[in-house]
Symmetry: C2
DNA sequence: TCTTTTCCGTTGGAAAAACAACAGACTTGT
DNA sequence: ACAAGTCTGTTGTTTTTCCAACGGAAAAGA
């Protein structure tokens, strides 16, 4: 367990907690290590989750199979990332997705009840932990709402405009750069790359914006 | 403040907390009441939020204006609903949306720092509160992820199939009813109603499902 | 009961996106 | 320096969605 302390220190969950405190907290939180082989399912649709997990090594897919058997990859989990945090609510129903290891993977399990039930004396950093988890989930919540606001636009053009508009706000400048390449941006917005590229150029020709590689500039009309 | 206790008792935030305890907690959490006139902005894009809010009376829109001035309504808040929970993270940046009262409204403000920093002696229900807020936000997170999984499907057909498939899972039966009418479902999935209606009938003709009003039955292939 | 309104399916034309395929610019690795 | 691979814009065709409009069925209201 000790070998994961340096990884955990860099996670959002344990941000601001010292090495020694992490070790004692691992104990307090009933931390368990589990390993998965490549291709093995960590969780299956229909199971109930009572833990918060952090991926220590490897790579996981969160995927979903519909009633007719069509597969769909929803998310990719990389080392240091937390998952399962949305399924710890009592009576929240069973897991709707599968979690599968696409590489040899190591997962840390934390007892959720122990996290939320504050043991005031034993763990001085417990309050910190509750805040961290709360902040992480809030952050995720916020970015989900934002993404949803792009995705709910009907056309590729509107999706682009709402996304770029938000980036300009976020970076507080009408000139900014994005960390996506074209294919990634298209995937993020769930549209076709070439159609999106085409639309970007139309927007440029109409004078609404300019771009060079990943540098964008929005223009007033 | 007393007049809102019965409302608060029914909110997710104060679920499981008795009347007397709510009153003392309101004090502990530095609760403030603010009223807004119809058309008045509660918050504007660019502001920083340090509170958690519950709408007591009236109705609010969470809306967004893009760089070129196009308006977009993201959400409608009704009495008893909580909002702002995603913006309380330190360094989370300014609010990206506007919050506007579309009716004469009353909003309760709670000091977020007070909620997360547990005062072990004074409030026996504090742990309960932290759990409640955590559960609420997790729940929201989960439904956002689900919705996003529908919305990220490219075609109306796929959006429908993934949504209906999930409902069947959730209600644990291939026959189930939904609480949306056609227009609401179309809005939820961000597609055109008539096109969606058309697609539903195609799916029925292809033998994948059946429906009568809001009752759906999925068929194996 | 009769009227009005809402809801839902249907259709045809217009608009947009998806798709496939390709070429040039740029990167990377050897 | 060269080859292989990636990234991006472009074009033409096919497919899908959007939009507007309509009619019938069901529900709500007078």
């Amino acid at each position: 367990m000790k070998k994961y302390v340096s990884l955990l220190k860099r996670t959002k969950l344990f941000s601001g907690v010292g090495d020694d405190d992490i070790l004692s907290m691992l104990n307090c939180l009933n931390a368990i290590v589990r390993e998965y082989n490549k291709g093995e399912y960590a969780f299956r649709q229909g199971e109930y989750i009572r833990n918060l997990m952090i991926l220590a090594e490897g790579r996981l897919y969160i995927q979903k199979e519909d009633y007719w058997g069509n597969l769909n990859i929803l998310n990719e989990i990389r080392p240091g990332e937390m998952f399962g945090e949305a399924y710890i609510v009592p009576n929240s129903g069973p897991l709707m997705n599968d979690v599968i290891a696409i590489e040899e993977s190591v997962v840390l399990f934390f007892d959720m009840e122990r996290i939320l039930t504050v043991c005031s004396s034993a763990c001085p950093f417990h309050t910190r932990l509750v805040k961290n988890i709360f902040y992480t989930i809030s952050d995720k919540n916020k970015s989900l709402v934002q993404k949803l606001s792009y995705m709910s636009q009907r056309s590729t053009r509107e999706k682009l405009l709402s996304y770029l508009s938000d980036e300009a706000k976020r970076q507080n400048s009408s000139s900014f750069s994005i960390h996506f390449n074209r294919q990634q941006l298209a995937d993020f917005l769930s549209v076709d790359r070439s159609a999106m590229s085409n639309e970007l150029c139309k927007l440029r020709d109409e004078g609404m914006l300019d771009f060079h590689k990943n540098e964008f500039t929005l223009h007033e009309l």
